[in-house]
């Protein structure tokens, strides 16, 4: 049963610390998305990649957030330095885009981040 995995599932850290969240997309998928979910804002797209290349990171605070795909099996989202307002659930999703129309995005279980 192929699924997106995310680590860690929970992270508690202090303000100013670096946080790294990892995502393993489903094997063979060529598109990876990072979302942030909060009560106030709902689901927000932070960044996404196709074939490991960043296509859009306009939803991401550039001064402290960075997203990368070192290889096809790993996507990372880093926050440095972290702030209390970054507390949220961060979801990774992957999909297979074949050029016409949309395909399903498969979501991971999320990383619940708490910044004290």
């Amino acid at each position: 049963d192929a699924r997106v995995t995310q680590t860690p599932r929970h992270k508690v850290t202090e303000m100013g610390q670096e946080v790294t969240m990892r995502c393993q997309p489903i094997l063979g998928h060529n598109t990876v998305f990072w979302y942030r979910q909060t009560m106030m804002q709902g689901l927000e797209l932070l960044a996404y990649f196709r074939n490991r290349a960043p296509l859009d990171d306009s939803g991401m605070p550039k001064d402290r957030f960075s997203a990368e795909m070192p290889d096809a099996t790993l996507a990372t989202l880093k926050i440095q330095p972290s702030e209390p307002r970054d507390s949220a659930v961060y979801f990774c999703a992957s999909g297979l885009v074949r050029g016409v129309g949309y395909n399903e995005q498969f979501f991971g279980p999320g990383t619940r981040l708490t910044v004290l």
Partner: protein, 112 residues
Amino acid sequence: AQSVTQPDIHITVSEGASLELRCNYSYGATPYLFWYVQSPGQGLQLLLKYFSGDTLVQGIKGFEAEFKRSQSSFNLRKPSVHWSDAAEYFCAVGKGDDKIIFGKGTRLHILP
């Protein structure tokens, strides 16, 4: 700009009763529409999607949705809910560039 509105933040229905969750979208062209479900502590799972063709779309878990262009709506329905359907439901619209805009969600509560 594209947007999705789910007017009901919470919905409560009795087990066995029918369900309709409302979704309205704003989009200048033919939309790509989705319904996702999120169980507590879980990620989102696709229930169904509409790209074109038959405006009544069947999904998993007994759900269906109807696309009504004249009303800019894509409401989700189920004839008889089960306690396991308690979750949060998100309507979403595709922007035409791989990205999806999600609504704020409707939390469904089931009374025994």
